[in-house]
């Protein structure tokens, strides 16, 4: 394990933290070279905390949690440490990992249609999880499945149990996925872009649902998204990632009010806003995120940054602690 490679001390391996990621690196072996998806990420999720991880496609935000869940592709190599409720789970063999994964630690994905079996009824799929993992009888399992659907506020749950996935709308399917992920009473739910495939109007409902469930079940949530607006409705803390590294981490309220990293500030401007007075140009980030296969030279964001200087192109900024439990990796952070 590389000691403090990011220039700060990693967060204490707190036994009470639901998830503690320390100096995680994930790289892929490709025929034309190694690609670094996650370069050096440390973060932690407290027991009942909700963190939002924000970044564009290719920032590595999903890979961090795929590594935690042991879902990385075959040609991936992960280094560092991922502790769940105190126990190291990175690199764990499938058998011991399955005791934790799917029950105490669950993950839902962007497209529920591919996670649900098309030819089985919803009720059967939900009950199957219980019968297989907890050895319940089918009767008990069906009853619990109904309760699970009620918990996620699916209207007419009895009827839904008898339906097939394609008969439900996108938002409804996502609720079913959430219900399925809650069956094992998780202490941490990882939601990877759960609303990106849904209408804007349904997004708010799913976020509200997650907020409610978090309180009711006392669980931690890690919400991953490319949209700061989605995360803003739920997160206590926000972590912003760019090109495989954390560039800012702060309390949600602080970051939304005054982001310190220029990237975070630009992302804030991109959140869809009906009250935006300037209509001539829709706010956006210029250019593209860097190619993960290309080697790092200086700050990865410099080519797109309005505040970049010559130093930024030369020297990569390290993640520094700021007051207020915030961290930022920038040579020219914005003032609060």
């Amino acid at each position: 394990m590389r000691p403090g490679g990011a220039g700060i001390s990693p967060p204490p391996a707190d036994a009470a933290a639901a998830l503690c990621v320390t100096n995680l690196e994930v790289s892929y072996a490709r025929p034309d070279g190694t690609v670094a998806a996650v370069r050096d990420v440390s973060l932690s999720v407290g027991p009942r905390e909700c963190i939002g991880i924000v970044g564009e496609s290719g920032s590595g935000k999903t890979q961090v949690f795929m590594a935690a869940m042991g879902l990385l592709a075959e040609n991936a190599r992960a280094r560092g440490s991922v502790r769940f409720e105190g126990a190291e789970i990175l690199g764990l063999a499938p058998h011991p990992l399955n005791r934790v994964r799917g029950s105490r630690l669950t993950m839902i994905f962007q497209d529920p249609m591919t996670s649900l079996t098309p030819h089985l009824k919803i009720g059967v799929q939900l009950a199957e999880v219980l019968v297989a993992h907890r050895g319940s009888s089918w009767r008990e399992a069906k009853r619990e499945a109904l309760e699970a659907l009620e918990r996620v506020r699916v209207p007419e749950p009895q009827r839904r149990l008898r339906q097939y996935p394609h008969e439900l709308s996108g938002g409804m399917r996502q609720r079913v996925m959430i219900a399925m992920s809650l069956l094992g009473r998780p202490s941490l739910l990882i939601a990877d872009e759960p609303t990106s495939a849904l209408d804007v109007t349904v997004q708010a409902q799913i976020i509200d649902l997650l907020r409610m469930l978090r309180v009711e079940l006392g669980m931690a949530v890690a919400l991953i998204s490319h949209d700061l607006g989605v995360v803003a409705g739920l997160a206590d803390r926000i972590v912003v990632m760019y090109a495989g590294r954390v560039v800012e981490s702060a309390r949600a309220g602080d970051l939304l009010r005054s982001a310190r990293h220029p990237y975070s500030a630009l992302l804030l401007q991109c959140v869809p806003n009906l009250r935006d007075a300037r209509l001539e140009r829709m706010p956006c980030l210029p250019g593209q995120p860097p190619d993960p296969a290309a080697p790092e030279r200086g700050c990865a964001f410099a080519p797109r940054c309005p505040r970049a200087s010559e130093r930024c192109a030369r020297e990569r900024p390290a993640l520094r602690d700021l007051d207020g439990a915030a961290q930022v990796a920038c040579h020219h952070p914005l003032s609060p």
Partner: protein, 317 residues
């Protein structure tokens, strides 16, 4: 309005008993951008495909340049296609994976301007590629090598190759990161300014529609429920569904509300209400008349039309 570029009248698309699009009528003038909003499943994509005759319509007419597109024979229809192009929702899927970017861009030229020589074609595709902000060396590469935003630019370049008079954009930014969506929207706006192309911009995202449109149409369960100039719609919506749509857009400046509005208790995609107003199941203002007859789109002001039996009361509320 006889000066309109596109006149859609009473367009219907039915799949068996299911009416995906019912009695939709609207006009589109040259150089104008009309935004079409609605939730998933409301029929907006089906409407776009029916206008282009990518799927068969069950009734109505689509007048373009003096002819009804739905009545034309295949050859005449193909000839007119150069003027009405489409940009698709999934940028990568809309490009042939076995063709290079250059070949995909050159295809419209090969179809409609076969007299062009190879160097002429190459120079036109190069010009358009650069116009949408991509590098020349991309001509020889394949779509899977590019990001979603870049693929969408390629799709737009392909659609604009023949300088169409109308561009139909079916959720062109929904599959992209929010940070990139603005790039594509701004590009479309620039191209419109340069070429005078009219646009039908379909989206479920009101904020995006607000940036581009001159007029906005709101669709619900296969029917148009409101049509207004952009500012009028966003400032003073009349139809209860439009109001609910606007209220449901999350606002980061607002503290998160309690539980989600019941106005969006989702109904399953299949099944349409057979009689009366399709929205009455969710509507706070539903009255007896709403169950009997589906309301038609009626003018309530200059450039503002609403399909609601109680529109007069709602305007004054």
């Amino acid at each position: 309005m006889s000066g309109a570029l596109l006149e859609v009248r009473d367009l219907c698309v039915r799949f068996g008993a299911f009416a995906a699009v019912e009695d939709v009528s609207f006009d589109l003038a040259a150089g104008e951008t009309v935004g079409l909003v609605g939730e998933s499943g409301c029929g907006k994509s089906t409407l776009a495909r029916a206008i282009l005759r990518l799927i068969p319509a069950s009734g109505g007419s689509v007048k373009w340049d003096g002819a009804d597109l739905l009545e034309l024979d295949a050859a005449a229809l193909r000839r007119r296609r150069r003027h009405v192009q489409m940009v698709f929702q999934d940028p990568l899927a809309s490009l042939d994976p076995r063709m290079t970017v250059g070949e995909s861009l050159a295809e419209p030229l090969e179809i409609f301007e076969p007299a062009l020589t190879k160097p002429e074609r190459r120079s036109r595709t190069l010009h358009m590629l650069e116009r949408v902000g991509l590098a020349a060396e991309m001509l020889h590469r394949y779509p899977h090598e590019f990001s979603g935003g870049q693929c969408q630019r390629i799709g737009i370049a392909r659609a604009m190759m023949l300088r169409p008079k109308l561009l139909i954009c079916d959720e062109p930014v929904s599959a992209l990161d929010v940070s990139i969506q603005g790039q594509i929207v701004n590009l479309l706006r620039d191209l419109q300014g340069e070429f005078g192309t009219a646009m039908l911009f379909i989206s479920h995202n009101l904020a995006v529609v607000r940036h581009l449109s001159h007029r906005v149409l709101v669709m619900y369960a296969g029917r148009l429920v409101e049509a207004a100039a952009r500012d009028a719609l966003f400032a003073a919506p009349v139809h209860p569904y439009t109001c609910a749509l606007l209220a449901a857009v999350p606002d980061p400046a607002r503290a998160p509300a309690g539980t989600a509005q019941d106005a969006f208790a989702e109904s399953p995609p299949a099944g349409r209400v057979r009689s009366g107003c399709a929205y009455r199941g969710r509507c706070a203002y539903a009255a007896a008349a709403c169950a009997l007859e589906a309301p038609g789109l009626e003018q309530i002001g200059a450039q503002h039309a609403v399909a609601c039996h109680r529109r007069r009361e709602l305007v004054y509320s």
